[in-house]
Amino acid sequence: MQTFTGLVSVLLVFLWLGGNLVSPLRPICDLRVLDHFVREARDSEVIMRGCRGGCGAMKSYFVPLTSVDFAVLEHMDVNGQAVEVQTGLSLLDQALSNAMKTVSNSPLANALDNNISNIHSLGQILHSLDLQARSTVLPDDSAPASTQTQEVSSLPELLQVQSSFLRGKVRLLLSAAPACQRQNS
């Protein structure tokens, strides 16, 4: 009997810990974090422009669409935006990782590595805002371009897309996140 109660209490402790672990993170609503990522994406563009040799091979990458129509945006719900953002971030993550394999220039490689880690952090932020998409189907490189994606043929274009994506869709989503709206109101 005593061992049983002990076991139960231990299980309860684990459940409590587990519950705490899976509980949502504190929402990260400060957009300065995203601004920091945006600046680093811009730094990669600058390094790219100044790169001489070992700057990656000409390769096509599938990247998300970045255009934002405010009129359309106003009518779009947050979850739809969240899906779009999450998909886009995954695409960018893949594309950047592929690009990095062809880059031998160390400053550029470091910048790309930084961008990849930033994208991972953004995923965490979206998770904290409870905006992480439940299901994301990542198209592979060989898949044809969907309506949500576009194709770029060089690393500079890829970096430009990344920058635009972060400044536009990701930022608008974060600023419109309900978790942050609740805090502000």
């Binding site: 601004d35 945006v38 255009s67 430009q160 635009s164 400044r167 536009g168």
Partner: protein, 529 residues
């Protein structure tokens, strides 16, 4: 705008209403600032196609070439993004009164942001201008709204606040610039502030009227753009300095009191203070009365008038020593010549030259008779052994002052004596005791100093009723007196003489300490003064 509308009405009269509506639409939706923005960019932007985003819409315009008469229908504006098909945009024209220029512009109906736009201007089917841009980078915001300037109550401060331009999604991406200047002055300062729409201006002049302007721009992270136009100036007055007039009055009052007190102190003790701050240069005038005033610094004159009174006081006597007769028993001369000298009991007033002559002759005579000295020495020894003979210093007693010569420490004193250059000095420096015993040493010294040849002339030794042995009278007799201004005779008692024997001192007090070293002449034995 009005000109455009007029022109359009003229050209298409059957679409009057539509055109009129369009004109109205342009006027209302174009915003108050449209023309000013266009005018501004016309100056600042270097690209052929100048684009800006006002609100949510992108407007691109270009300057029409003057020689062209045809208007917008020759021009075609196309744009594309994300590799989509090109889309066309309606071209309009606008005449700017201020710069006397005509521009052609196109406003995109649905502006895509965060993507690269490729815009082209075609004229008669041929590409004229082309440009690639991102719409979020050419934001041209309206000026801030509701600018207010208020006094904060604190000295030199003003509270400035405003509202951001009406724009969604961009409230947290704005940066403001506040310009302020004293009313009427052209020199202004600028403060930059991010995101916040409030600012406290510090370090302003008190009780001064200030003009304040504000403008806005995207911060450059997510959105970029141009500086907006300045707002209309708003005035504010800084509060006056909060120095209490009561405190000022009190400070002035206390200052006055302190001044009065210090003046009073200075006036009452001005002499003392003057002496301390500006001390007198010491002058010796008080020691020399009348030297500077009467005799005009002529010291000789003054000396001649004030001779007697001055010297007796403080100035030590130098030229003449105080006289005192010194009777010294010198080397015995057994000649009659010496005897006659011996019997002389000379007062100090005796003529010294005469004595010196006699003494010299006697001296020579005496020196010829060294053997007789031996007898005298024995006499002296006898006296020495018999201290009571001192009582017979009544022998020495006279009206004259005598210096007795000691007999102790003979050897040393003999040496000391030899160091003296002058014979009389030698006699003086030996300590005085009574009796002939002293003279014994002197005799010795005299004997030995015979080489000098200048032995003192006379030494007298007086016995009132005493007779010398027949052979004896050869001793020299000398009365010596110190030269001096005044004479001082004091009868000498035996006790005094005894004292003298014990103490090395002169019988008379000389103030002149240099005397023994500066006995001028050996011949100057006695000087009556």
């Amino acid at each position: 705008m009005y000109l455009l509308c007029k022109w359009m009405t003229k050209m298409r009269s059957n679409r009057l209403k539509i055109v009129f509506m369009l004109c109205l639409a342009f006027v209302t939706t174009g915003g108050q600032h449209f023309e000013s923005k266009v005018a501004q960019l016309l100056q600042d932007e270097t690209e052929h196609i100048k684009c800006f985003v006002e609100g949510k819409d992108l407007t691109c315009f270009w300057e029409e070439e003057e020689e062209r008469n045809h208007i917008h229908d020759q021009y075609t504006f196309t744009y594309s993004y994300e590799k989509k098909n090109k889309m066309a945009c309606a071209v309009s024209s606008l005449y700017l009164l201020a710069s006397n220029k005509t521009i052609l512009f196109c406003k995109l109906p649905k502006t895509p942001f965060f993507t690269t736009l490729d815009v082209q201007v075609l004229r008669d089917g041929r590409m004229l201008y082309t440009r690639s841009l991102n719409a979020e980078n050419v934001l041209f915001l309206d000026p801030p709204r509701n600018l207010t300037v208020m006094s904060s109550g604190k000295e030199g401060q003003l509270n400035v606040s405003w509202l951001p331009p009406l724009l969604k999604y961009m409230d947290d991406s704005m940066i403001y610039e506040v310009r302020y200047a004293v009313d009427g002055s052209n020199m202004g300062k600028v403060e930059v502030i991010k995101v916040s729409t409030r600012l406290v201006l510090l370090g302003l002049q008190s009780n001064t009227r200030y003009k304040v302007w504000v403008r806005v721009k995207p911060d450059g992270v997510a959105y970029k753009g141009y500086w907006s136009a300045w707002t209309e100036p708003v005035f504010g007055v800084t509060p006056p300095s909060d120095v209490d007039p009561l405190i000022v009055l009190l400070v002035i009052f206390i200052g006055l009191i302190l001044c009065l007190l210090s003046l009073t102190v200075i006036l009452s003790h001005h002499k003392f203070l003057l002496k301390k701050l500006w001390p007198d240069i010491p002058t010796p005038e008080h020691k020399f009365p009348g030297l500077f005033t009467v005799y005009k610094g002529d010291f000789k004159e003054w000396m001649s008038h004030n001779n007697g009174s001055m010297w007796g006081r403080s100035v030590p006597v130098y030229t003449e020593e105080l006289p005192s007769p010194l009777e010294v028993l010198s080397e015995v001369s057994l000649t009659s010549h010496g005897t006659s000298q011996r019997e002389e009991r000379k007062p100090v007033e005796e003529d010294e030259e005469k004595e010196s002559e006699r003494s010299d002759s006697g001296l020579t005579d005496r020196w010829r008779d060294p053997p007789h000295a031996h007898w005298l020495m024995e006499q002296l020894r006898a006296l020495q052994e018999n201290p009571e003979s001192r009582s017979q210093s009544s022998l020495l007693q006279s009206h004259d002052t005598y210096v007795t010569l000691n007999q102790g420490d003979n050897e040393q004193q003999v040496d000391d004596v030899f160091e003296e250059t002058l014979p009389l000095q030698t006699l003086f420096t030996t300590a005085g005791t009574s009796s002939l015993g002293t003279s014994h040493s002197d005799l010795g010294s005299l004997q030995q100093s015979s080489g000098s040849g200048r032995l003192s002339s006379q030494s007298s030794f007086e016995y009132p009723n005493h007779t010398w042995p027949p052979k004896g009278p050869g001793y020299a007799y000398m009365a010596v007196a110190d030269s001096g201004v005044s004479m001082d005779y004091s009868p000498m008692s035996s006790s005094r003489i005894a004292e003298l024997g014990k103490h090395r001192m002169y019988t008379n007090d000389y103030k002149n300490e240099i005397f023994p070293h500066k006995w001028p002449l050996s011949g100057q034995y006695i000087k009556s003064g």
